[in-house]
Symmetry: C2
């Protein structure tokens, strides 16, 4: 069969697995007043930061009014903050506040603990292989086509 088709099918399967693993790592995690969407935005912010409202809207597929609403709530909760753009006064750069960073550090610690249980028996040389494999995927198919 065509190699590209094979890789596509493998990609679908790994996307499914990644989704499933994320679900298992975050299941029963205390949300401390955040709705699922708000938490999702927080996770996104901890990876892409700082970022404007329009970019969040575009990347996550949330309309501008709804993005504005959720960021407002997160800001009111003290979890993120708005920074004015130096050259364009319309733009707002959003980043996690110190409290928001702490909150996400907790979340990732929770996930990490779940992950550690999962890979308990895996040998170091196998893990090195895994590490190289992930690097390879990030450098090719997951690379952002700008």
């Amino acid at each position: 069969m065509d190699l590209k088709i094979t890789v596509f099918q493998q990609l679908v399967s790994i996307i499914t697995s990644a989704h499933q693993l994320h679900y298992e790592m975050t299941k029963d995690m205390p949300m401390q007043g955040l709705t699922p969407l708000q938490y999702e935005i927080m996770e996104f912010l901890s990876v892409e930061q700082p970022i404007t409202l329009s970019q969040i809207s575009e990347c996550k597929g949330i309309s501008m009014p709804n993005t504005s609403r959720e960021i407002k709530k997160l800001t009111e909760l003290g979890l993120c903050e708005k920074i004015e753009d130096a050259t364009d006064r319309r733009k707002q750069h959003i980043r996690l506040s110190a409290q928001g960073e702490a909150r996400m550090a907790e979340a990732f610690a929770f996930m990490r603990s779940r992950f550690m249980d999962r890979i308990e028996g895996v040998a170091d040389d196998e893990l090195s292989e895994v590490s190289r494999s992930i690097e390879r995927l990030q450098a090719t198919i997951f690379r952002t086509t700008s």
Copy 2:
């Protein structure tokens, strides 16, 4: 730094990338009357099939009443069907109907097309590397710990 910590951080990044890529492949895809959750269940069914209602509920983190409601809607739309269990008459095994399979084949064709555009310039030997990398991940960290 500890290898396991490194792999965890890489894992978080690949989960994010996978989520992002899935979003880009399905963005603007015609949903033909399916809600996001219903489509998500359809994707799940096309991977795990047949499966009981309780298993869908457990795996996807949807309560039984809500799972029942959504499966009922999908069944009414002719996209999936219920099969009685031979030994336990309470159980319902759910699978995609022929129409449901056709619908998902369309969905995957849509995604595949997007994916092909994305990897247009990637050489075959690089793709083979990607393929091996995915296999390695599926065999290790994404393997289901039963």
